[in-house]
């Protein structure tokens, strides 16, 4: 296995994008970076730049305006990439299912690999979701875990 594949699985860089979410899941994503949960000890680093990222973490339902932005970001992430939908509303639309400006879950726009349930999803659940995504990623790059 090459060094690149190995480091992709051992130290995934995530990018967080907030759709029209309520913030609840965003602060939980941020909270998982802070001392109590500290995902950096697993080599997970939060990035602001899509071209550096391996995993796209999306919170919130897709609305008519963010759909374009989301697609755009996804296209900029190099392959192989994983998409994690964090929270009930990113997965299905959740409580916002009957709001007029909402298209629905993230899977209306992108292929989603892992769905993290919860409203708001707990930091533990989010970390678990990233680990699941990594297992899938290691299959994709041909590294057994």
């Amino acid at each position: 296995m090459g060094i690149i594949q190995k480091s992709q699985v051992k130290s995934p860089w995530i990018m967080h994008f907030c759709n029209s979410s309520c913030n609840g899941c965003d602060i939980e994503v941020l909270a998982s970076l802070t001392p109590l949960y500290d995902v950096e000890r697993f080599g997970i680093v939060n990035m602001g730049n899509p071209k550096h990222a391996d995993v796209l973490v999306v919170t919130g339902p897709v609305n008519y305006r963010t759909a374009r932005v989301l697609k755009n970001l996804y296209d900029q992430i190099p392959d192989p990439k994983m998409v994690i939908a964090v929270g009930a509303c990113a997965s299905t639309g959740g409580v916002f299912h009957n709001c007029y400006n909402i298209l629905g879950g993230v899977d209306k726009v992108l292929p989603v690999d892992v769905y993290v349930p919860g409203c708001a999803a707990r930091p533990e659940a989010i970390i678990d979701g990233v680990v699941l995504a990594l297992q899938k990623l290691s299959k994709a790059v041909g590294v057994a875990k």
Binding site: N23, G24, I27, L36, C99, A120, R122
Partner: protein, 360 residues
């Protein structure tokens, strides 16, 4: 004339966890013009509130914003109760105050952390978020959830705090208070923090009033205005006094929020000591009558205005929320021009923007 550049700030920007865009025109390093572009977080909650039955709206209203979620839920109930009007049991009033203040505390700690992050003071950011977790722990222990507590229902509250939980809460709050005090002392006296915030984004008292801003942002400009002074819930019995600073710059805003965080611990401790025994919920009779009411609540980010119009059915005819950031954004159009490019993130953050609130 120096050449002008227009650059977008956002919608994906490291200091903002949420999407908002500011189209900023620069002349060399100076900002000359700002136009906000919103809409990345618009869902249409006001309309959905008319479509759902009124008790179900609580869950929707709480998800206007995940940080102020608890107070949104409580205020929705307060607003709808005013349609009858209904009186909630006294213990429920105190519980509502306690939960409101707890969410103010965690929100202010969150903001202080984000401010440090914007200043590049990474370790302080982590410290504030570390003590914030303790507040979330007691929220979870008493209500069942870290973020969306869903504590309030029309007619009272959903869960009581028993004697043992009360003891834990008081113990944790005292710990948080000690740690927060020492962190805030460092923050307030640090020369690098002062260099980045003092004299930045100044708003005078007159400007502040004419711009219609509210909350800690307004109080930092020397206006003694706080919706908690209206004395709703149990605030009238707690001897509440708003915190005011006069400088009107980013540093003053940070001080107001820091002192409010400590004040809200005091308010909670006082509320625990005065809380009467008794019922926590009284079932509302019938449907909300045809009537219209307004209500103002103090969110961590400022005054939040609610309007509800009933029509005698299970549905509301109209429900409107004017959130604090919605009123605070126009102040950016005045504060940003003239400042330097590198100060933009700090000034934007100093209004404590909450975009999902703004756009609903």
């Amino acid at each position: 004339m120096a050449p002008r550049t227009v650059a977008p700030f956002g919608p994906q920007h490291p200091v903002l966890p949420e999407p908002i865009q500011l189209k900023i025109t620069y002349e060399n390093e100076k900002v000359v013009d700002v136009v906000p572009a919103l809409g990345y977080g618009h869902r249409g909650i006001e309309k959905a509130c008319e479509l759902n039955e009124y008790p179900k709206n609580i869950h929707l209203v709480e998800r206007i914003c995940g940080i102020c979620s608890c107070i949104h839920g409580i205020s929705y109930c307060e607003t709808v109760e005013r349609l009858w009007p209904l009186e909630v049991p006294p213990r429920a009033k105190y519980l509502r105050v306690i939960y409101s203040e707890m969410s103010r505390l965690h929100s202010h700690l969150l903001w202080l952390g984000l401010l440090c992050d914007a200043l590049g003071f990474e370790s302080m950011f982590m410290q504030f978020w570390r003590i914030r977790e303790k507040v979330l722990d007691i929220l979870e222990a008493t209500s069942g959830h870290r973020v969306t507590q869903s504590i309030s229902v029309v007619g009272g509250v959903r869960r009581d705090i028993d004697a043992e939980q009360e003891k834990t809460c008081i113990k944790v709050l005292q710990e948080v208070k000690k740690e927060a005090e020492s962190l805030i002392n460092v923050l307030a006296s640090d020369p690098t923090v002062k260099a980045r915030t003092v004299g930045k984004g100044v708003l005078t008292k007159e400007q502040a009033i004419l711009l219609g801003i509210n909350g800690p942002h307004l109080r930092a400009s020397g206006v003694k205005e706080d919706s908690r002074m209206l004395g709703a819930q149990a605030y009238s019995e707690l001897g509440f006094e708003p915190i005011v600073e006069t400088a009107g710059d980013c540093y003053a805003r940070a001080l107001v929020r820091a002192r409010e965080a400590l004040q809200s611990i005091e308010l909670q401790l006082e509320a625990f000591s005065k809380m009467p025994e008794g019922e926590i919920f009284e079932r509302p009779k019938g449907r909300p009558p045809a009537n219209e009411v307004t209500y103002r609540a103090e969110q961590p980010r400022g005054e939040c205005f609610y309007y509800a119009k009933g029509n005698g059915t299970q549905h509301l005819e109209r429900f409107r929320v004017r959130t604090p950031t919605f009123a605070n954004i126009p102040s950016l159009l005045v504060m940003l021009p003239g400042c330097e490019l590198a100060d933009v993130p700090v000034i934007v953050l100093s209004i404590d923007p909450c975009i999902s609130c703004t756009e609903r």
